[in-house]
């Protein structure tokens, strides 16, 4: 296998991480919505925590994207 095709395969494998992170983001918003519907009065106060959880989950997907871009363009 030559280097160019190995690069492309590696970038494709790194892109899987983006999809896995989407599960995390969906879980954060899904569980927030579940509890927010049970107690709508308390949901507004937890919005900051919602976005912190979202940011933490999203960052890992963005890292995977960054790795894919590094493999494609930096090497």
């Amino acid at each position: 296998m030559d280097l160019a095709s190995a690069k492309l395969i590696g970038a494709g494998l790194a892109a899987i991480g983006v999809g896995v992170a989407s599960v995390g983001v969906g879980f954060v918003f899904g569980s927030f919505l579940q509890s927010a519907i049970r107690n709508p009065a308390a949901s507004d106060g937890q919005q900051g925590r919602l976005y912190i959880g979202f940011a933490a989950a999203e960052l890992l997907g963005l890292m995977a994207f960054a790795v894919a871009m590094l493999i494609l363009f930096a090497f």
């Binding site: 900051g48 976005y51 912190i52 960052l59 890292m63 994207f65």
Partner: protein, 259 residues
Amino acid sequence: MAAEGKIDPMHQFVIQPIAGSFQHGSPFVFTNSALWTLIVLGTIWLFMFGGMKRELIPGRWQVAVEGLITFVDDMVNVNIGPDGKKYLPWVFTSFVFLLFANLMGNMPFGVVAAAHPFTVTSQFTFTGVMSIITFAIVLGVGFWKHGLHFFSLFVPRDAPLVFKFAIAPIEFLSFLVRPFSLGLRPFIAMFAGHVLLDVFGNFVVQSLNAHSAGGVGLSILCFLFIMFVSMIELLVAAIQAYVFAILTSLYISEAVNLH
């Protein structure tokens, strides 16, 4: 750019000199990044200046500016506590700058002329420096207020001794990674979104050039997708600015209150 069907999504992030050049070894080059930073700052200045009237019955503009300030003020007060007012300037600056820079990067000025917007926040140098400023504030405030006691931030308070020894290095490592992740987040979000837009924009043109019914259909599909992604981008632009501001106030709160 789309020569022989090759898509080059990185072209939009190239920093090009407008006045002066990199060749003569001078570091003072006026680039498109500098130009768009000035445009963003000018827009912020116009927006704030137009709304900073102290009228008893505020107009629409004043309500918009006051709403923005109250939004960040509430966030800082909730997260940091009574001391929060002192740190409002930096949190507000970073929030408004990121928000405006992200949004200006999405503006379709390129339709009118060759004035293609350059997203200044799509460079890690920008967001990285902003997160370094945040951490300078965190470290400065932490050591100023608590002295060497600041290191107790890494040790959980009501934990057994064994856990303390186990958790302290992990907390320390997570603290060291924070400036990196804080700056990386807005940068990658903008970067990824613009790459996606560029790739699908190329798909629109290329499938139109295929001169077939299927090509036209694909082109329309891609165009609709671009519209969808553009709306998502506007949302992401606001969310990333919000996340940066809320994480900044959280980190400062840890330095001020220790846990």
